[in-house]
């Protein structure tokens, strides 16, 4: 929504934080230019008001900006994509504008290394001048031979002064000659010089740019000798050179090109009574510039179309008139234009004293001599190689009109430059063709034109008054005003994104961006890998495909992703929520759910995107935080908050934050006049139509697989689901159908962040499984520099002050800081760096540390949060303990936030460095203990998730103990029938159990339980009790997969009648192939039994899909059966939605009930009677069922003792609490302990298996390291001062302190360095002052405060 430059960082905190240049295909304006002038570049510069820079861009390829800016027929504008919005940008006029603003002489002359070779150029027209310019830049000695007394060729003698004032041309010729180009006027080739002669005269090369100055003949009798017939080119030349001053009488001109129009307007200005143009076709076919034709009409030139001269009428050898014939258009000719055909008998006479034939020009090559050895082509033009412009004679080149026949100046400029390149290479003896043969690359990938772009009128130049126009040769067009020009330039849609102005190259101080790196493009690199993980994510649904939302038309209809940016502090409005149309704060916002999801009428996405309900609620809640008065409404079909803690968030949104939830799908949005407000209509649940107005509408767009990813999948031959996601099986949830290729994230199905992170770790485990033999073969290990002992040395502080380019030095006075720091106590060495973080600076720092024998290092630069590890690495390389380092943030905390006040920023920088100096003197080397990790794993719980975890661990080569309390593996899976994908669970289970039992790295402990845990990450000693036997297992990591169980309902008459069963009990019947199921005529399912209730406020996630699946199974067994599902929200997320659709199609009836009006179940005469209020009819209905299935909740197998032993927490619902809801879903905050399966949260089989693998993957990252390094900045207890009060053991969130049980210090506390996270809580809680925090010791903080 905001604007982004081509050189950008994706967002403020991007990693890597480097800027990059984004380029799409070359802008079409630039591609269209025959002179390859970078139109996009100079238009951008003009938009920024950088006119000199604009000229620098232009003169990279065109030395005559003011000339071409006036007369070019601008093919660039025909290609301009702005015309898709309104009309092409006035590119050509902008070029003139730029040239008008800056004197070309102000542009610096680059340093040129002069060479001695001479080059001759024949003709000072656009081709010759351009060739001369570029050759002179290469250092060659260039002489131009010009037949006329003036330079410019056709530009001077073909284009009238009112279009191109000679002064402009002369200045631009000067711009060329100032490089040392010499022009010899009045020197005609063939007469004064010859090509062969030049070559013999010491010129290394000759360029022929003689143009087309010979008029074509009408072919009428008397054309050559009747007085009053003047060929067009000659007429214009004589006028330009002042040889004709005045004409009288009537003038007729034959032709339709620029020469005809120019001749007409010139004749008018020279006093002709009447000027007529006779053209044989219509205006549409006229080759002259549209602007010129328009001007001619304005100046009362009589342009007659469909006329052709047939005879000259004369009296005494003097012209009196022209007999003409009318024409009509016939079939198209070779040029594609319709061929004019004479209309018989339509002759008529035009009175004329002067006739100017202007029907074309030819190259006059009559100067060629045999010795020249230069050949012409069949049209009489110079024959050249199309890449090099070399003629048939080596060293002789030709270009421009002389090569192409009469064409446009910019084409001649292009030819001149290309020829110059060839000539330079020819003289240097290089290959002239290398890298120049143009490849036809289709240009189509452009910066998309933003939706909702405002249409603007095209800028036009003003003209001088008509009287002035007709009476003289003053330039007609007056350039653009600065305001208009910049506005016009800023209309550019930046097709290529980067405009290649190369301004960035000029300013890059670090030398990272050079002409070469700027040119860098995509390249193909081949990499050999053992496995592939595809995690290419999703593409947000493009809502403009759904016309009725008017996303394209209404500025205040935004996507949820755009709304996210509106909320963000780094977003387009810096976190200030305003609506796009008028930047007003919205007071009423509506969210529309399921946009591009669960939608088969208007798009093909039948699946649920899984995440939109939750993100919409979150956005509404956060928006309310921004503005508590906000009226926020969410329009939805089913509220699908099935994730961990999501239901609570939903309840809070409803009850605490007052978000309105409206169950309705809105289909119309109408704008309210010009207010920007939006009127919506929807039907309430009770059938009433409601019309309401909102300030803004947010579309909760779904997730899709991008076309590119689909292509990739096809390349890999990966099977896809109907929803275009990767097909996987429940037991191998991250394996694609292609061996060795794995999937994670939303390519596997629409999913939220925690699930994506689980899958990602699972994919890592699966991908690594095949490569165990090559583990650590391609990774690198680092050399260790011995650490210098600094104990006993007085502090020798080295301070490095960073400029960060200009980020710091632009505000903070670095020299002042340097002088100040130099005087601080113990500072031995001070220096500044342009970029302290650059690689070469690290090397220099290492040298300085050694040379000056420094023992404490301060870097005053950016934030330690990103750069501390880098500098600590440098300390290590210099042989210093890495904790002898302190970073001072004078960028984020000073220069950036006090830009307006450099003095205060400098003062603050000095103070911050002074505080760091005070602290660092007291810092001491710290030890990091290295502890060996026992490469053995333990998995507690032998269900599907635990077995998967154990299998992954074992297959990566680690001994694994699988502890199961029951007498067999498998857990709940024994009671399940089928997965939603239709897989038979008993088959799956026996398959997995077989794999586990035959895996030699797994030791299975059945009928066993954990009775004691000692130790910590890497070194646990766990006691397993089996009956009366105890066994101590030593292991490095543990995974808790303790599973869950079905809630046994206390409601709905459960237990009173065998016809009332739970979901698992129904599955058991199906597993037993119970014949009674075939006789069920009426089945009812009640959802949310024990879930989403006040005492158990979570959604059990699996029950909706399970009941839908079971309902379908019942329907399969007895298609006549009536099946009802009584639900609150159907939560068949992801592609499970298709099962829901299938069930509805199969005739399963879904009846919604609400929490405060639950169904009533009664037993009547041996029948089960269920009464439920139908929300559509608003009436109670009663169903007599043969089978009532209660979709009951999933409860975790709560085990407080186990949780305590492993020091892991549980939430209010007794599920384990993971390290981080999003980023650490399969591990505990306690190091070395992991979790998976139902113990984490209710989940279906595929997700439980994935999490088992994920927990294994996380554990393997520890096991594979072999050792763990503890942090040095941790707490340390002085046992002599410790009073043994035990406060520290109670406050520590990580159980790091414990009381020593025996020995000299029994009863005192000690810190386990492997567990301590260095938070310092125990330090400030210690009543005896016995605990210190290394790196943040009291004296260190006091020292900082003292000098602050």
């Amino acid at each position: 929504m905001g604007h982004r430059n081509a050189v950008y960082r994706p967002y403020a905190q991007a990693v890597p934080g480097a800027y990059s240049v984004s380029k799409k295909d070359k802008s079409p304006c630039t591609t269209a230019c025959p002179g390859s002038v970078n139109a996009h570049g100079y238009v951008s510069m003009i938009g920024e008001g950088k006119y000199k820079e604009a000229l620098e861009v232009i003169t990279r390829t065109l030395p005559m900006p003011g000339v071409l800016g006036r007369i070019c027929p601008h093919p660039c504008e025909d290609a301009c994509r702005r015309s898709e919005v309104d009309s092409a940008i006035s590119i050509c006029t902008l070029k003139r504008f730029a040239a008008d603003q800056v004197e070309l002489s102000e542009l610096e002359i680059p340093e040129i290394e002069q060479r001695k070779e001479k080059v001759a150029i024949i003709g000072a027209g656009p081709a010759g001048l351009t060739a001369a310019y570029f050759l002179a830049l290469e250092g060659f000695q260039v002489t131009i031979f010009e037949a006329l007394p003036v330079g410019g060729g056709m530009l001077r003698v073909g284009i009238p002064d009112y279009r191109l004032p000679p002064s402009i041309l002369e200045k631009e010729i000067e711009f060329i000659t100032r490089l040392g180009v010499e022009i010899k006027y009045n020197t005609r080739v063939g007469k004064d010089i010859t090509i062969d002669g030049l070559l013999n005269d010491g010129y290394e090369s000759v360029f022929i740019g003689v143009g087309c100055h010979k008029d074509m003949k009408l072919g009428l009798e008397g054309e050559e000798d009747v007085e009053g017939v003047i060929p067009g080119v000659k007429f214009l030349r004589d006028a330009a050179l002042g040889e004709t001053k005045e004409i009288k009488g009537n003038v007729a001109i034959v032709g339709g090109g620029d020469v005809a129009i120019d001749a007409a307007r010139t004749a008018l200005r020279m006093g002709a009574d009447k000027v007529s143009i006779l053209y044989r076709r219509t205006e549409a076919e006229m080759p002259a510039r549209d602007e010129e034709i328009e001007d001619a009409f304005e100046e009362d030139v009589d342009i007659q179309f469909l006329r052709a001269p047939v005879e000259l009428l004369q009296e005494n050898g003097k012209l009196t008139g022209v007999k003409c014939i009318r024409m009509e258009l016939g079939e198209p000719d070779d040029s594609g234009r319709r061929r004019p055909v004479p209309v018989e008998g339509s002759e008529f006479v035009v009175d004329a004293d002067i006739l100017i034939p202007a029907i074309g020009q030819k190259t006059d090559a009559s100067f060629l001599q045999e010795a020249d050895g230069v050949e012409l082509n069949k049209w009489g033009d110079f024959a050249v190689d199309q890449v090099t412009y070399q003629t048939s004679r080596e060293g002789v080149f030709a270009g421009g009109d002389a090569e192409t026949g009469a064409s446009i100046a910019i084409a001649a400029v292009g030819a001149g430059r290309e020829a110059a390149i060839s000539i330079a290479r020819y003289i240097k003896g290089e290959d002239m063709k290398e890298g120049r043969e143009g490849l036809e690359i289709p240009q189509s990938d452009f910066n998309p034109i933003p939706d909702k772009m405002e249409k603007k009128a095209r800028a036009k130049m003003d003209r001088i008054p008509m009287e002035e126009r007709k009476s003289g040769f003053t330039e007609v067009e007056i350039g653009l005003s600065e305001e208009i020009a910049r506005a016009e330039a800023n209309k550019c849609v930046d097709c290529m994104v980067c405009c290649e102005c190369l301004e960035c190259v000029k300013v890059c101080g670090a030398g990272a961006l050079t002409f070469e790196t700027h040119e860098e493009e995509d390249r193909i690199e081949a990499v050999e890998v053992g496995s592939i993980v595809i995690s290419s994510g999703f593409e947000p649904y493009e809502p403009s495909k759904l016309d009725f939302f008017g996303y394209d038309r209404h500025p205040n209809v935004v996507t949820a992703l755009q709304f996210e940016r509106l909320l963000s502090a780094s977003g387009p409005f810096e976190g200030h929520v305003v609506r796009p149309s008028d930047h007003k704060e919205p007071k009423k916002i509506a969210w529309f759910q399921c946009v591009g999801s669960r939608e088969t009428n208007n798009c093909d996405n039948d699946y649920c995107s899984s995440v939109c309900c939750m993100y919409a609620i979150k956005e509404a809640v956060i928006a309310k935080e921004h503005d508590s008065e906000l009226d926020a409404s969410i329009f939805y079909m089913d509220m699908r908050t099935f994730g961990k803690d999501f239901e609570k968030y939903y309840d809070d949104a409803k009850n605490k934050h007052g978000i309105n939830f409206i169950r309705s799908r809105v289909h119309t949005i109408d704008p309210v006049g010009d207010t920007g407000d939006l009127e919506i209509r929807y039907v309430r649940e009770d059938g009433e139509l409601v019309v309401d107005t909102f300030d803004m509408v947010v579309l909760s767009i779904g997730l899709e697989t991008s076309p590119g990813l689909k292509e990739l999948a096809e390349k890999f031959n990966i099977e896809m689901t109907p929803g275009n996601f990767c097909q996987t099986d429940s037991l191998t949830p991250v394996a694609t159908s292609q061996p060795g290729v794995y999937v994670s994230g939303s390519f596997q199905g629409p999913k939220d962040i925690p699930q994506a992170v689980v899958d990602a770790s699972a994919a890592a485990a699966a991908a690594g499984q095949n490569l165990v033999a090559a583990r650590n073969t391609l990774t690198q290990t680092r050399e260790i520099v011995p650490e210098r002992n600094i104990i006993g040395e007085r502090p020798r502080i080295g301070a490095f002050i960073c400029h960060c380019g200009i980020n710091i030095s632009g505000t903070v006075n670095i020299p002042e800081v340097l002088d100040y720091v130099r005087e601080l106590p113990h500072v031995e060495y001070v220096t500044d760096n342009l970029y302290s973080c650059s690689q070469d600076t690290q090397a220099t720092m290492t040298e300085i540390i050694k040379e000056y024998n420094l023992n404490r290092i301060i870097v005053a630069a950016c934030t330690p949060k990103t750069h501390e590890p880098l500098f600590q690495e440098t300390l290590i390389n210099a042989g210093l303990n890495k904790y002898l380092f302190e970073m001072v943030n004078i960028r984020n905390h000073a220069s950036w936030v006090h830009k307006e006040n450099p003095e205060l920023a400098t003062q603050k920088a000095k103070d911050l460095v002074r505080m760091a100096v005070a602290k660092i003197g007291l810092k001491m080397p710290l030890k990091e203990a290295e502890l060996a990790v026992n490469p053995t794993a333990m998995v507690v719980g032998g269900g599907l998730s635990g077995m998967s975890s154990a299998l992954s661990l074992a297959r990566q080569g680690y001994q694994t103990h699988l502890i199961e309390k029951a007498d067999k593996l498998g857990g709940n899976a024994h009671s399940l029938y089928k997965t939603w994908k239709g897989e038979n669970i008993p088959d799956m289970l026996s398959d997995l159990m077989g794999q586990v039992q035959s895996e030699e790295n797994i030791t299975i402990h059945l009928n066993s339980a954990v009775s004691n845990v000692e130790g910590f990450v890497g070194n646990f000693q766990t006691t397993i009790t089996s009956g009366n036997e105890e066994e101590v297992i030593e292991h490095g990591v543990a995974t808790l997969a303790t599973g869950g169980q079905e809630y046994k309902p206390a409601e709905y008459c459960y237990g009173d009648d065998p016809k009332i069963v739970t979901s698992l009990e129904l599955d058991q019947k199906m597993l037993n192939n119970d014949a009674s199921l075939d006789d069920v005529d009426c089945a009812v399912f009640i959802q949310c039994v024990g879930s989403r209730e006040p005492e158990r406020p979570y959604c059990s996630r699996v029950c909706c899909t399970h009941s839908v699946e079971s309902a379908l199974e019942l329907k399969k067994r007895n298609p006549e059966a009536r099946v009802f599902i009584l639900y609150r929200d159907i939560r068949t997320y992801g592609e499970r939605e298709r099962k829901y659709i299938e069930a509805r199609k199969a005739g399963v009836v879904f009846i919604r009930y609400s929490l405060n009006d639950k169904p009533a179940v009664a037993l009547k005469d041996g029948k089960v009677s269920i009464t439920v209020k139908d929300h559509v009819l608003g009436k109670n209905i009663e169903i007599e069922a043969d089978l009532l299935t209660l979709a009951s909740a999933i409860l975790p197998n709560r085990d407080d003792q186990l949780a305590q032993m492993f020091k892991v927490p549980m939430n209010d619902d007794s599920f384990f609490i993971e390290r981080h809801a999003k980023l650490g879903p399969s591990e505990f905050a306690t190091d070395g302990v992991f979790l998976c399966g139902l113990a984490h949260y209710p989940k279906p089989i595929d997700e439980a298996v994935a999490q088992g693998q994920a927990a294994a993957s996380r554990a393997i990252t520890l096991l594979a390291q072999g050792t763990i390094t503890t942090n040095g900045e941790i707490a340390a207890i002085d046992p002599m001062s410790c009073s043994g009060c035990g406060i520290c053991t109670s406050v520590c969130p990580y159980s790091a302190p414990s009381l020593i049980e025996e020995g000299r210090f029994a009863g005192k506390s000690e810190i386990n360095s492997a567990l301590c996270k260095g938070c310092g809580l125990c330090v400030s809680s210690c009543r005896s002052g016995a605990i210190r925090l290394n790196g943040y010791d009291n004296d260190q903080i006091f020292a900082m405060v003292d000098v602050a």
Binding site: K865, N889, A905, L912, C1319, V1345, A1348
Partner: protein, 66 residues
């Protein structure tokens, strides 16, 4: 007194507020230059003694954030 500027010593938790101060810089937010930052590993490290020491050393305010 009109040109009096308070000196504020700020104790910032490394994990949240210090990062927030970094982000304020990244976002180029402008605020008065009166604070002097002491980075601490967690506000759990904060001790009343640091507050007292700050005031003893002439601070006009102490700001603890975490």
């Amino acid at each position: 007194m009109s040109d009096w500027e308070p000196k504020i010593i700020t104790f910032l938790c490394n994990w949240c507020s210090y990062g927030a101060a970094d982000l304020a810089g990244v976002s180029r937010m402008q605020y008065p230059a009166n604070i002097r930052v002491v980075r601490i590993p967690c506000t759990g490290r904060m001790s009343p003694k640091f507050v007292l020491a700050s005031f003893m050393n002439g601070a006009d305010g102490v700001w603890i954030s975490g």
